[in-house]
């Protein structure tokens, strides 16, 4: 499986995820959340940021079901779902992820028929990655 190739801006997200926390970057001056992480705030141009804890609740904004040809680790689990989740307490933050049956389960552990745009999900963590389960 591919692991995140992080950069300086994104690293805190993954460090929090490794501790089982979902946090998003927000401007320390005007409070505007932003994703993906970056050096400064597009609203007020401040370089001060903080990592704000979020509830981990969200809704499915869209989803796809990839089929091969895929990289071998992924082909073995195909067809699986990939979703974009819109966070409940930061609606303009959308995270790519997978809806699984339970924390640590395979990408194909949930029947794709159960996935709908608008469905409520909440975050769980496995191996340093956020995953999503149906709420």
């Amino acid at each position: 499986m591919l692991t995140p190739v992080t950069d300086g801006d994104g690293a805190p997200f993954w460090e929090y995820a490794a501790q089982g926390e979902l946090r998003v970057q927000a401007c320390a001056d005007c409070g505007e959340p932003r994703f993906p992480p970056r050096p400064c705030c597009a609203h007020c141009q401040s370089f001060a940021s903080r990592w704000r804890a979020v509830s981990g609740r969200g809704r499915i904004w869209s989803y796809v079901v990839p089929h091969p040809p895929l990289l071998p680790d992924y082909a073995q689990q195909a067809p699986y779902n990939v979703v974009v989740v819109e966070l409940e307490d930061a609606p303009r933050i959308r995270l790519v992820g997978n809806v699984v049956d339970h924390a640590g389960a395979a990408l194909n552990s949930l029947d794709t028929q159960r996935i709908r745009i608008g469905a409520r999900v909440h975050v769980v963590f496995a191996d340093g990655l956020p995953q999503w389960v149906l709420a």
Partner: protein, 384 residues
């Protein structure tokens, strides 16, 4: 001569291409040289007169290598536009700008690819750009098809677009390819049954929603309007040219701005039409970047052929076929002629305005050509 900006100040006077196939024996550099020489021959211009080059990223043939191999003169302008297939039309736009303001006099733009027989970029796991790959690839969103399928699902959900609408796009392209002996899919008709029963690539996109992986090369030659009158073929004028990188955009995985369904086409279109003497209603034929079928309804909306959310419905009733409201991708496009990062769409636009297309729109006088949607893009309005 006083010229108002770029409008009709320059013209495309030569086009050239290699064969298109899943596997061609020549390497990329050789294909590039052949396409460029064919375009110069078509224009009746000697290689030594070329003083400007433009290409776009993901082009493996370096300007230096091309200039040396083909025998160009001293170059005074060269540019490479970013974001892969989003740069196809911008190459012509950059050359037009350079020539219109006196930085150069004879420009060549090109694309040479071995995507049919070479590696696919998404399989490269060693070179992952941290942004956005860290936010997508670990979760199995691996290929451009997956990234665009995500937008497609949302688009269908919001506006009621259907797979039949996507099929209409695939069919129009295939029907035109069936008229084009150079097309990879020349002798291979497509039916609705084939489409609906084909294998999935990334639901909701099936096999026929995806472009062809192709080996091939194309080039075109651009000069000022005075010079253009002396060339072998009637000039095809660069009427308007634009690039588009919207505020808060994020590459092809653009789920992270306020409105992911209004992509770069919208930004390019505003500039394109502002500098044009005609409107979408006056476009006779369009060559719309079609790496995936779903890019077409999104582009039809962005370039103003219909309202927001109406791109799917626009494809109904044969609108994209010859004789329809907007004949589309008349060489077969990336879906059925060849996927050469959209450069075949530029050359096909020229053919239509010369009256030499294999699927000629009678009396075509205006053509829209677009580059990759989803990524920072570019577009041209051509007229004869």
């Amino acid at each position: 001569m006083a010229v108002a900006g770029l409008k009709d100040a320059t013209a495309i006077v030569g086009i050239g291409q290699s064969a298109f196939a899943k596997h061609l024996p020549q390497d990329e550099k050789t294909l590039a040289c052949r396409a460029v020489l064919a375009a110069l021959e078509d224009a009746g211009i000697a290689p030594g007169e070329v003083d400007a080059l433009a290409s776009y990223t993901m082009e493996e043939t370096d300007e230096v290598e091309l200039a040396k191999a083909v025998g160009f003169g001293d170059l005074t302008f060269f540019s490479k536009v970013g974001y892969g297939g989003g740069g196809s039309c911008a190459t012509v736009g950059h050359l037009a700008a350079a020539i219109a303001c006196g930085q150069a006099s004879v420009g060549v733009a090109w694309r040479s690819r071995k995507r049919g027989s070479g590696p696919r970029p998404w399989t490269n796991t060693t070179v992952q750009l941290p942004t956005p790959a860290q936010w997508t690839r670990p979760f199995g969103l691996l290929r451009p098809a997956d990234e665009i399928a995500m937008l497609t699902r949302r688009y269908m959900h919001e506006y009621g677009a259907t797979r039949d609408h996507l099929f209409n796009v695939a069919l129009a392209c295939r029907n035109r390819a069936n008229q084009n002996p150079a097309a990879v899919m020349y002798e291979r008709p497509l039916t609705r049954e084939m489409y609906m029963t084909s294998r999935w690539i990334s639901e909701p996109l099936c096999l026929f929603d995806n472009c062809l992986e192709t080996d091939g090369a194309l080039a075109c030659v651009i000069v000022g309007r005075e010079r253009a009158r002396d060339c072998r073929h009637a000039p095809v004028y660069v009427h308007s040219a634009a690039q588009g990188l919207p505020a808060q955009h994020h590459g092809m995985v653009n789920y992270w701005n306020d409105d992911p369904l209004t992509g770069p086409a919208w930004t390019a279109a505003r500039h394109l039409w502002k500098h044009a003497d005609f409107t979408p209603d006056d476009v006779d034929v369009a060559q719309v970047y079609d790496a995936f079928t779903a890019l077409v309804p999104l582009s039809l909306e962005g370039y103003g052929f219909c309202g927001r959310g109406e791109g799917g419905a626009f494809t109904e009733g044969g609108a994209l076929e010859i004789g329809g409201r907007l004949p589309l991708n008349t060489s077969g496009g990336g879906l059925s002629e060849a996927y050469v990062h959209g450069f075949n769409l530029v050359n096909e636009g020229v053919k239509q305005l010369r009256g030499s297309s294999t699927a000629q729109v009678p009396g075509a006088a205006t053509c829209l050509v677009t580059a990759g949607e989803g990524v920072p893009t570019s577009a041209l309005l051509l007229r004869n």
